[in-house]
Subunit: 288 residues, 2 copies
């Protein structure tokens, strides 16, 4: 997905917030904004939002000397969601449509994203009333049919905290189907995206094979991914990609893909045809 | 008031919205954003937000050849508020504290501002429930005392549409006090700020002397104002300045000033110590 002009103010907002999270002083914050504006003034028409996100956060890491500014936030989000995991798992187990509800829960958890502008302050509040989430753009029939006809599922994760709900969904799919699942995280820290450290910390490595992208984009930039990642990506019978960053980078690639995300900004909502705040399960790629 | 780093993304958002209101094509929108980012990359520490706002809208006027992109919006806002003027005036006339209510109404009307991000789409909705507006930052006692001790009031207006509520307040002050009022508008079109054309169109010129700033900033940049404006400004016993733009440019100048505004962005709210959405009547200048 290309970069829209509406993304420009949002990149500046994100750069400023991230600089402050990385404890940059005001002079450094200003320098970061100036760098980002130079990048945006010369941005290639081919670039995708995760590539600019990568440049922004690289600039901040270098300016502050902090290799992982979101480390504590990620730990805290993992811990907070692990605390409520038993309740959420019980809820799913008692549900009359557990796979749909686990998908909805994993999609709702995609709100735990420190990139876009946020409407929440405590991650636990995100799950209040998730059952009443609007889901006009939730193509479960296509997902169910693909599940039945697939031997392998490549599950591309997104954020820390959220990964606990991916674990619940994966546990359920293992219980209910014979599908072979591989999960993937980012190769290095970027924003609050989940890395192998988060996968271990929430225990997803105990139930399924976990690999990483081999790159540190907040999405999947195929030309930078490891051979191992690309093998799973191209050979999987079906792919489940979580979140806006994965959608932004893979929306015009393979056909056998499902995007599960919260529409968190007007650009993504317009692109999908939904509203900001909608929970989305979208089957297949967009036309380039 | 200086420009905060938080203003940078907001300037880009405003530039993009204004380019679209001026019917700029996507190429021109991109050029406008690139120009604005160049300006922000070299912004003087002395500059105030209305000076950057001026540069943004000058860039758009020049890029599109449209000298007044907000002309129709201003006309529409004037007409919509004039339609409900009789009801609002009746409400004030029946009030047990008419000056306070007219001030609150004129302050609420400051939401009719096409600069900051907006939460409304129809100006008439702004006046629904205005009597329940939070007003912890509403220093009426100081205003009342100043009114009693002043012979002249210099009233610095802000936006089209809003100007109708300034007229209601002025009518009431003429009824209830002996104070001599002069009203001022912008010297040329800028965003949806009221000009002499708006003052005539809503009939404020029929009840009070109206001058203009002699400049086209969306605020008051004293060194650019006409001699006539400066004479009123320096000689008035008290000043009532409406809106964020006038606050941003005059907040550290004279002591005998009252700012009546809606706090519409986090930067202004932090500066005043209130919350976004609060109605503010603030007595006196800030410490520079």
């Amino acid at each position: 997905m290309k970069i829209y002009l509406d993304c420009y103010p949002c990149f500046l907002r994100q750069a400023l917030e991230a600089s402050r999270i990385a404890n940059a002083d005001e002079k450094t914050q200003r320098e970061v904004l100036t760098s980002v504006m130079k990048v945006l003034g010369n941005v290639s028409q081919e670039a995708t939002p995760p590539q600019i996100g990568w440049l922004i956060h690289k600039t901040i890491r270098e300016a502050t000397g902090n290799p992982d500014p979101y480390k504590e936030i990620k730990q805290s989000h993992n811990e907070l969601v692990l605390e409520i995991e038993p309740d959420l798992f019980n809820f799913i187990n008692k549900s009359s449509s557990p796979v749909i509800d686990a998908l909805k829960l994993a999609g709702t958890a995609n709100l735990i994203d420190m990139g876009p502008e946020r409407q929440w302050s405590d991650v636990r509040d995100i799950f209040e009333g998730f059952m009443n989430k609007k889901s006009d753009f939730f193509d479960y029939p296509a997902f169910e049919s693909s599940l039945k006809n697939s031997g392998t599922l490549f599950y591309i994760g997104d954020n820390a905290g959220e990964i606990v709900l991916d674990k619940i969904l994966i546990k359920l799919l293992i219980q209910k189907t014979d599908i072979d699942i591989t999960y993937t995280v980012r190769g290095k820290p970027i924003i609050n995206d989940a890395t192998m450290e988060d996968a271990r910390s929430v225990g997803i490595t105990n139930i399924v094979k976990v690999i990483d992208t081999g790159a540190d984009f907040p999405g999947v930039v195929l030309k930078s991914c490891s051979e191992e990642f690309l093998q799973y990506y191209y050979e999987a019978d079906m792919i489940l990609a979580k979140g806006q960053g994965n959608y932004e980078s893979l929306s015009e690639e393979k056909e056998n893909i499902f995007f599960l995300l919260q529409a968190k900004c007007p650009v993504i909502a317009d692109k999908i045809g939904c509203k900001v705040g909608d929970l989305v399960l979208k089957a297949g790629r967009d036309q380039p």
